[in-house]
């Protein structure tokens, strides 16, 4: 295993500040795990509800460390040829023809040359490994792939190397920061989990969420922002199929600013409801439970009640 990077941060607080500069407000556990990932050189497996900023964390890490981000979006049926590498058949064919036309050289060596790096098409994983500059590798929504794909990742994640039968082993020149996200739609294999640090990101507490909203929509005033997260918390407290996420809070803030609203009353709420609730059954429930509470104009009590 390669040792920690020379320029790796010294304390979790340092990471937190760097992430904040990259406009990502990390809480303590996020900062700590991001720090450990860089120190120990381990991949991070991030899970949590949709839209709490799992993918954003990887992007922020890339901005904070000044590394390029390479992203592999997973889907059902993703395989080696699309994620790791593929031989460029067409180029190989052309190579054969060109060689045949140029001279009648030794055929065996010509065949060997067909499997040279120049005929290799790099896909995201190999690209991340072979990059000269250290990168951030994001493997997004790994739960969408099959278990076989996970097994293929193991070599890459534990030793940061890839074996290509025709070429041999390719070791990482630099140590990438690997972020793997999952929406928890299926259980990942133990083998994969064992190689990763685990991070669960949940909805942030109201103060932090208000900060995040203000960061992404500077046009919103403080009172409206805290009112907004209060209402969002009320909505999340209901039994919804798809509770509003942080990105929806931000969208809503933008909508409110566009509408020129300075307070959230029943009217504005009903008007802009569809920005935060995206499911028909949920819409009815929210309209019934939350909207009247706003109409009375009194400040919402604690969301638990």
């Amino acid at each position: 295993m390669t040792g920690p990077e020379v320029d790796s941060p010294q304390t979790p607080t340092e990471v937190r500040d760097a992430l904040a500069d990259a406009s990502y407000l990390a809480d303590e556990s996020v900062a700590l795990v991001a720090f450990l990932a860089q120190r120990l050189g381990r991949p991070v497996l991030v899970e949590g509800p949709a839209g709490v900023g799992k993918t954003e964390l990887a992007k922020a890490l890339s901005r904070a460390t000044g590394r390029e981000m390479i992203r592999l979006q997973c889907y059902e049926g993703l395989d080696e040829a699309k994620s790791l590498y593929e031989w460029n058949y067409r180029k190989q064919l052309l190579g054969i023809q060109a060689r045949a036309a140029a001279s009648d050289s030794d055929e065996a060596s010509a065949l060997d040359e067909l499997f040279a790096p120049e005929y290799l098409m790099e896909r995201p994983l190999l690209e991340a490994i072979s990059s000269e500059e250290p990168v951030v590798l994001l493997i997004d929504e790994i739960d969408k792939t099959d278990q076989e794909f996970e097994a293929m990742l193991l070599e890459l994640l534990s030793d940061f190397q890839v074996t290509i039968p025709e070429l041999g082993r390719i070791e990482a020149a630099t140590h990438p920061i690997v972020v793997i996200t999952s929406n928890d739609s299926r259980e990942l294999t133990e083998a994969l989990k064992r190689r990763c640090l685990y991070l669960w990101i949940d909805y942030p507490d109201p103060e932090r969420e208000a900060e995040i909203v203000r960061l992404h929509e500077p046009g919103i005033d403080d009172r409206l922002a805290s009112r907004l997260v209060e209402v969002i918390a009320m909505v999340r407290d209901l039994d919804l199929r798809k509770p509003p996420s942080i990105s929806e809070s931000i969208d809503w803030a933008r909508t409110l600013v566009l509408l020129g609203a300075d307070d959230i009353d029943e009217g504005t709420f009903r008007e802009s409801l569809s920005t935060i609730v995206k499911h028909r059954a949920d819409l009815d429930l929210v309209a019934e439970k939350v909207a009247p509470a706003l109409g009375r104009g009194e400040p919402a009590s604690s969301p638990g009640g």
Partner: protein
Amino acid sequence: MTTDPDRGPARIADRLIEFCGALRAEGLAVGTSEVLDASNALESIGWEDEDGFREAVAATVAKSRGDREVFDLVFDRFFFREAEAEALRRESEVESPDGTGDDRLADLSVEGLAEAVAEAIDSGDAGRMNDLARLSIEVFARDGERSGVVGVDLQRIRRGLGIAPGGDGAGPDPEGRREFERQLRRELERRQIGQLGKLPPARPLRDLNRTLPTRGAADLAQVQRAIFRMKRRLATVGHDPRRGGKGRSIDFRRTARASLETGGVPLDLRYRPRRPRKPEIYVLCDVSSSVSSASTFFLSVVHALHDSFRRLRSFVFIERISEVTDLFQSERDFASVSERITAQGGVADVSGYTDYGRVWREFLEDVSSDLGPRSTVIVLGDARTNGRPPGSDSFRAVADRAKRTLWLNPEPAAYWNYGDSAMAAYAPFCDGVFECWTTDQLEDFVDLLARTGGGTPSVHPAAMAPPRPRY
């Protein structure tokens, strides 16, 4: 750092290994590599602060949300006990209950205390809650209300302060209340340890901490995940993916297209994907009062199944059986489904007691012509016949026609065949009998379903014994 032999890294490493042992005892898969990771992680952070320490160990050791919950419970218990054991070992003073502030306590009324506690709970101030927890223990000890049993004392103090749960949202914030109770319990345990001079035996976490969800949509998501997995597995049941080649037909169009890459030579044969045959599933769900706590859960399982399978027919039964397939298909919202089933599902229910014998007969009449070698019958019920004949002949006829018959029982296996439970009468005809009262078990069921795809019978041993006197 290593000057004091009691505090050096070696000692921490030992504690860490013991801690991981405790986690394993609770069923977490903690490998040696994870222990190594944890100690590496601790080396690179300053672990003076408890949260950092906890998060670092959690990130390396607990690899799912469920694991994290168990981790937190074990962490609190383990390091609390660890600290207490250390205190005992050094014979240092554990704060005595009859300490300094007696004169101050004398004029403190229970009412005043209750008010202060309510205030602290509302403000969510953990430090203040801890102080007040100690104070209340002392006040109640002064009044002679002290049994020495942690649970009993906790109840008493809770009642005295008027923070017992059960108010309809009128009481204090539930989150804060739970925090205060945690503090109380901790303090009471600390005192008990101080008095006895030794640690009470460590008990495993109770299963209750991880029992079935019964709340509706939020937990439904959890069930839905388990069902999603179940769906994937059911879809491939009976297939052997390795048995390639034979009987597969070539997709000529795609092969021809692929051959263009190799100059028209079809090097790379493309096959038509094999379409797995869709299973037909019949779900029978008991909704009688004896399983009322579990039936919400089971209905949500059925609801989730409807999302995943087209060819699914569902039935609910108490005394008689009725088909609710249409109801589930037309109604997307779980709450209204369960409402409509109770209101007008047509569950002919005179006595409110399950009559299994009749249910099988009626089921057989309804669907016997459709049951075939592709059918899977899943029964969700407790097999409590209320002393009525179990009708195992009819059940056998059902099981014979269907390819597979599976039974999920919401009672722990230990209760099967006691009283009016007739599990043993049905078990021999089932391809699988499972206890299912936690989500973990539901997942185990799904696992088993995948492994026994061919239909090998796997009957829970408890189902067969003891031989039960027939009605």
